[in-house]
Amino acid sequence: MDILKLENVSQEFFLPRKFSDIVTNKPARSIRAVQAMNLAIHENEILGIAGESGCGKSTTCLIAAGLLSPTNGAVVHRGQPLAAMDEATKKTFRRSVQIIFQDPYESLNPRFQIGDAVAEGPRAMQLWPEEVIQEKVRSILNAVGLDPDRFMKRFPHELSGGERQRVGIATALVLEPDIVFADEPLSMLDVSIRADILALIKSLAAERKFSCVYVSHDLSILGNVADRIMIMYLGQAVEIGSAREVLTNPKHPYTKALISAVPIPDPTVERGIPKIVGDLSMPVNTHQGCQFAPRCPYAKEACWQSFKPLSDAHAQHQSSCLRESEPDVVGEVVDADRG
């Protein structure tokens, strides 16, 4: 059963109209942060969402977590659409969908002691009596590798980046969620401590049986941690499939370009040359078709006209490229050590 589904979700941010536009009655310009997204998150999986900045992955996260209302489409939690939920169900939803944030320095209230920060969720939602909350707080702090006696009374500024991120994880997990969205949780940490936090997330997900949606621009990390990967470009989901499939056998020209641009920590290996044209464009009221068309070396007329969103068929390797099976596109397979 899918824990969470996004059905045809779109998010448009409208820009204020210029005076000349108001006078000439032109419609407001908009940024399509997310476009016609179909996504299903399974039980017990780690789904990676990858893409560059401005691709809409963080917006997708916020919409799926119910913190932002989409302009179109529905978010469905265990069969129930979010929009139709009553107060009690909403509360259950809020509890079962949690987020781990990117910046360990910013995601903790500087005025709260660690113990209070972790207890805040259960207290706000009045889940348990205070003694039970205290116990759960201690147990989750232990689970993330922080000794409760040493850390509960401290303030965020007394902790290192890695410790703060562990607290962030604890605040999300204390509520015992089904799904945890992790928005680039490692990018602000030193490299030598990332591996531990990544391993922590992986082991907690397996142990406590929650699904994790890991949002990142770093394909190397996703290759290491994710079961499935979805690639986004300027609001459109362009490819989805198992991590191994997507990274060793990409179907979409953008994915191919991305993969060949990722540096490899091994001087003996030559990566490919990304086949891509021009700089990132602003996603303002562009054409109706595939957003990658302006930069795609294989774009044809049809690509500019229409966009084929990914359907939510499960666990299959799909891409939104209209030309994906044509010979000149397929031929450019990234040469990779299938490691």
Binding site: S107, H157, A172, L175
Partner: protein, 299 residues
């Protein structure tokens, strides 16, 4: 649960922290002790005043009405043209001034802080409405407003306090709103929403503690402004008729026509107004350093 004893200890340590902040630089230190001095005088006023305020005094030597006497041993600050002892007046007036200052200051910061927090957090129509109210009040000329209020309801101390509070809250509302908007964007507020906190909980439990340094700064300012405002109103004759305040003393002086002669009557109230207001501003300065941008620990 927190025991009463631990709450007391928490309260004390908070006060102690405030003391440390206020006295963190020289200005704040001077300011704090001057304000403490005036506060003590205000508190113990009836015990300190040597003579009743509105009782005409007689010179011990000559036995005559002690009119317009310069400072002497018997009357350390001299007397008014009607023989009232100025020292007693000053002491009792200190109580009035400090009390009005504190009450108006606190009422105004309560109004200003809440309006700022709510307008800043909710945005949209609520923000528009509240800010337009603020703008209208900005346009309101203070004195005519006070005159109307007093004329309608009489020269009572409650109206003076009310009038002052209604004017002084404006700037603190704007500033606190601005800071609320900036704090609202920070990730820990999104995190709090994700953890299920209601809007009110976020405003008062998550945002307010982070706005607190600025709020305390403006409390100090508001008290200072209230005192100046009260002194101005009283000086123009719109103060409370029964209780004496520093501004009121200057008003009496002006009425008597002896301004150019009785320097001992003029100097103490004027100097004290300046001293108290300046000291409050010094304390605000100390808070400003603390609030602005709060030193984050090095990463």
């Amino acid at each position: 649960m927190q025991t009463f004893g631990s709450r007391m200890r928490n309260g004390w340590s908070t006060l102690h922290r405030q003391y440390k902040i206020m006295t963190s630089n020289t200005y704040g230190l001077i300011g704090f002790w001057v304000v403490a001095f005036f506060f003590a005088v205000a508190l113990f006023a009836p015990l300190l005043a040597p003579y009743p305020v509105w009782e005409m005094q007689y010179d011990a030597e000559t036995g005559q009405l002690a009119m317009l006497q310069a400072p002497s041993l018997q009357f350390p600050l001299g007397t008014t043209h009607l023989g009232y002892d100025l020292m007693s007046q000053m002491i009792m007036a200190t109580r009035t001034t400090v009390m009005i200052g504190l009450i108006s200051g606190f009422i105004s910061i309560m109004i200003g802080a809440n309006i700022g927090l709510i307008a800043g957090y909710y945005g949209g129509l609520i923000d528009e409405f509240l800010m337009r109210c603020t703008d209208i009040l900005y346009g309101m000329p203070f004195l005519p407003f006070v005159i109307i209020l007093i004329s309608l309801f009489g020269r009572k101390i409650e109206f003076v306090i009310l009038a002052i509070a209604l004017i002084v809250w404006r700037t603190s509302a704007r500033v606190i709103r601005a800071q609320t908007i900036s704090i609202k964007q920070r990730q820990f507020v999104t995190a709090a929403r994700a953890r299920g906190c209601s809007h009110l909980r976020i405003i008062y439990r998550h945002i307010l503690p982070n706005v607190l340094p600025l709020l305390l700064l403006y409390t100090s300012f508001n008290i200072a402004w209230s005192i100046v405002t009260e002194a101005s109103a009283s000086f123009l004759g719109f103060g409370d008729g029964d209780t004496i305040s520093w501004g009121g003393m200057l008003y009496e002086l002006w009425l008597s026509g002896k301004t150019r002669v009785a320097w001992w009557w003029f100097l103490p109230p004027a100097a004290c107004i300046v001293a108290l207001v300046t000291s409050l501003v010094f304390i605000s300065r100390a808070y400003e350093e603390y609030a602005n941008p709060r030193l984050r620990e090095t990463r």
